[in-house]
Symmetry: none
Subunit: 159 residues, 2 copies
Amino acid sequence: MGSEKGMALFLATFVNKVDKKGRVSVPATFRATLAPQTFAGVVAFRSFTAPCVEAGGIDWMERLSAGTDDLAAFSAEQDELTSLIFADSRQLPFDPEGRIILPEDLMAHAGITEAAAFVGKGKTFQIWEPAAAAAVQEELRQRAMKNRPTLALPKGGPA
Amino acid sequence: MGSEKGMALFLATFVNKVDKKGRVSVPATFRATLAPQTFAGVVAFRSFTAPCVEAGGIDWMERLSAGTDDLAAFSAEQDELTSLIFADSRQLPFDPEGRIILPEDLMAHAGITEAAAFVGKGKTFQIWEPAAAAAVQEELRQRAMKNRPTLALPKGGPA
DNA sequence: CCTGCACCCATTGACGCCCATAAAACACCA
DNA sequence: TGGTGTTTTATGGGCGTCAATGGGTGCAGG
């Protein structure tokens, strides 16, 4: 099993079924990258940029908290972000088989009914209605073929 | 073997068969350059510049992750890049014989059916349908003989 | 007593591991 | 230098294991 040290990335897209109880299996590879965390489960909240659920491990929340701490206390911006993120987020624990229960409002926000797409985003991931995820992905891909986006990389490594 | 100080590179082109299970042997020399990585396998995604599969080691992905971490969380730019890079990429682990399983959609995108060409690109490599790879190679070679491309090198090294 | 929700068990189908064979690169020796 | 034996690589197939899924059951709280 996964006792690697360096890698802790969420990669690829997996589509799993949602059963009548609202349970979904979190992909095994995602569970593996979540394994070292202190909370055995997923933290999730409704995205405010897309019809999907933002998700990650508990340490990611702590990182976000560190980010909002840098904003001025009582500023409108700080108030807004902390509400959007922390007030809306929940901890979804794994059951013994590695599934989580998707709350009603999260499913409604993403339009999820009978299947959910887990979309890897590196240090975090998103949960989508499968068809919507595919559509957005395809559109991004089309755009990329024209605009060839670039990314500045730290030097020294491979590629 | 294989613990040289200089970074190992992916060189040359190898054509291997794809069996009924979708398995392909990764060339032994490529496995050797991937050996020091934390994940025993390759990371691959559909190229958005050519009908082929882009591939490399996991540390290459981690480097890309470090790059996207410098972008603001929830920014459009960060969202697009992480989707493009991570959502479409897959971890393909080696089996005990050094083979990987090429997923259906990757094979479809590259037009691969019964054989795959592993094309070294230095710090990464590509996987092509053999005939397509040969055609593109030949065309590039023809063009190079006319245009005579040049390459500036960092100074201080050998040659 | 009824409704959840958390744990347990059963099924299945894919994938990972093992073997066995074959072909090729290499080393060694006459 | 050519032949021969050995090691590594490539390939094919069978089988066990685990992940994904569905359903049942017991405990807790209202």
